[in-house]
Structures are given as structure tokens and as C-alpha cells.
Symmetry: C2
Subunit: 198 residues, 2 copies
């Protein structure tokens, strides 16, 4: 089979960024998060809701529009989205995870686990929580908690020795309830921002 | 040429993790860091010193022993080191950078830039500073500043919109002098640590 043929077969709209089965195996009882009622990635509480890896088709399901509620996304074309999806899949270590409202085929929540390969700790891997966003018209369904706990348990499932995040002051309490801690004397996130290329 | 043949050619001890030429082009005048005397990745101040990407041969040049001054590394075999090197190179986005004392063929400083692919900001990339360590018998040679500024300029050179780090309280002032800031209300680093698999 030629490379072009194989390439086109892989790039179907239903293609997942990572294998979806692992989400069904996550044990939510291992998380300190309290859900009421109890929900999980496998059973998110409504039959019209599904927690799954990002798919190529999510370009048409409002994934980028949801992200733009978080920060600037710019005007990303389908080609750019497809290229980034392919690059992430080829690099490995990108677990972009979404919640879909299947009634309207819209992405209503998202969070990303990225995996960083290390030499330290016996060539271990470290997870990071990135780009968490939930459509705020779905309040009261514990979706923020659901998506964060999903990727946190996923980090553990894929072997991370720790999972890290940076956040604003008002979110510290929320993340505390999910098991994240500001470690005394060692909880400073610093940034250097570069000017846009002129 | 068969795959096995090509594979063995690539895995020479002098193989770099990333192309070394880019380090020679970094413009240290773009950094707010003050060096006295002026040094750079291209001219690190001593003719027996070189700033370069990690090489496979660094397993034999004390790279892991240097890292163990930072945190636990465990007992990493040559095979594990080689496999991690290969995985990092194949994934892309890993810029492990070292300073070597060529007189004694020892790694005396190291810092890593990792690149995270994003959808936000027009499918941009974000850099992270990780695993900074300098042999403290080389005090007064500005090596900490040299290695951090090197990978920070590298982040900008490869197109990152920002570079991030987590640090202990006593290092904030140091990183401030290099251009890193704790952004008001948004500078919290949180972690969840997982138990070792039993």
C-alpha cells in the first residue's frame, strides 16, 4: 500500500487523537474529587453526553469556538487544524480530551493532558494539565470537575509520576478539591512572553 | 538502504538530540540578562567550554550524575538512556542543552527546553524550562545564567509565544533578572503526585 493511500485512510473524520478505550477504564474512586451525583468518564451522567479523545471531525463540532472562550485562538483553518492534529498524533503524548453533547453534535468541554519525557526519576514521564474549558451554559453538571479528573486519572494510567498545572488564584480551591496542591516554597509559575514576530 | 542499516548509522555516540547550529545564532543582546564579562552560547567565556545539544556520548560524560544533583535519577542503564534519547528525538520538541568542560570530557551544566504544541494562538507552541542544573564547583562563571538564557532564546528562535517555568521561592529573583515574571493573580504552580506503582 502506497504512502498516499495509507495517509488518506488514516485521516478520516472519526479518527481519534489517542485510543478511546483507556477512558472507559479510569477508576474515579481513586480521585479525591467528590461527585454528586456520582459520574465518571464512562458514565458522565446524561446519555446524550460522551467523554472521548479529540477527533478530526471536532473541527466541525465547535471545538475551536469552545477554546476561544478560554483565550485567543486566531482564525484556524481546517488545514491548520488537520496539520496540528497530525503533528500531535505523530509526536505522541498529547491527550486532548473532550465532552460532546451528542444531541447537537457540539463540544461542550475540553482539557488536555500533555506528557513530558524525562531522564530524571528513572526516565519517567510528567503530565501537565492544559487548556481546560467548559461551556458555561452547562452549569451544574460537574463538567469542569469531570474533564479535569478524567485527564488527571489518565496521567496516572499512562505512568506519570506527577501531574502539574498553572492556575489563577481563584482556581486554587477548586484544584485542591481534586487533589492538586501548592507545594510550600515551590509553587511559583513564571512566564516570559515573546513579542509577535514583526 | 535498509532500515537496520540506517538505524545503526544514526545511533553514533556523537549524534546530537537536535541540530547544534541554531545555538550559534542566538542573539544574547535580546536577553535582559546582564553578563559580566559578556558571554554567549557561541562564546561561553572559556575556550575549554562548549554549549551544545545533548549527545548520546553524554551518558559517559557524567550527564546523569549531574542531573542527580538536582533530583533522584535512579539507576539508568545505557540502554534506557539510549531509548529515551531516541524517543525524545523521534517525538521532537526536546531541546536538552548542556555545557561541557572539554578538558575533562564532563557535562557541567544542563537545561531543557520542551515544546508543547497548542491549538490556541493560531496553533502556536509554548516552551517550558525544565531540569536546570549546574555543577557548583564552577561558581563565578555565570553558567546558570548562561544555560537558562541559552534555552530561553532558543524558545523564541523556534517560535514559542511564551516560555514558562516553575520554581522555588528563592529562585524568583534570579529568574526575574532573566526576564521571567510572576504574573499577578496567575502565578500558581500546583502538583498532584502519584504513588509509585506497587
Amino acid at each position: 500500500m502506497g504512502l498516499e493511500k495509507r495517509h488518506s485512510n488514516e485521516e478520516t473524520s472519526s479518527e481519534y487523537l489517542y485510543p478511546p478505550d483507556i477512558l472507559q477504564t479510569l477508576d474515579f474512586s481513586r480521585s479525591p474529587a467528590k461527585f454528586s451525583p456520582k459520574i465518571s468518564a464512562a458514565n458522565p451522567g446524561e446519555d446524550w453526553m460522551v467523554v472521548r479523545p479529540l477527533q478530526r471531525a471536532d473541527f466541525d463540532k465547535g471545538f475551536l469556538q469552545l477554546l476561544s472562550q478560554l483565550t485567543s485562538t486566531g482564525n484556524i483553518t481546517r488545514k491548520q487544524f488537520d496539520e496540528r492534529f497530525t503533528q500531535m498524533k505523530s509526536s505522541g503524548g498529547y491527550y486532548v480530551t473532550v465532552i460532546e453533547d451528542k444531541r447537537i453534535s457540539k463540544i461542550i468541554g475540553a482539557a488536555t493532558l500533555t506528557i513530558e519525557q524525562k531522564f530524571i526519576h528513572n526516565c519517567s514521564v510528567r503530565g501537565r494539565l492544559e487548556d481546560v474549558v467548559v461551556n458555561d451554559t452547562y452549569r451544574g453538571k460537574q463538567l469542569g470537575k469531570l474533564i479535569v479528573v478524567t485527564v488527571s486519572l489518565l496521567a496516572q494510567a499512562v505512568g506519570c509520576y506527577k501531574m502539574s498545572l498553572d492556575c489563577k488564584d481563584h482556581l486554587i480551591k477548586f484544584y485542591n478539591t481534586l487533589g492538586y496542591k501548592c507545594e510550600p516554597g515551590n509553587s511559583n509559575a513564571m512566564n516570559m512572553r515573546f513579542e509577535e514576530p514583526s
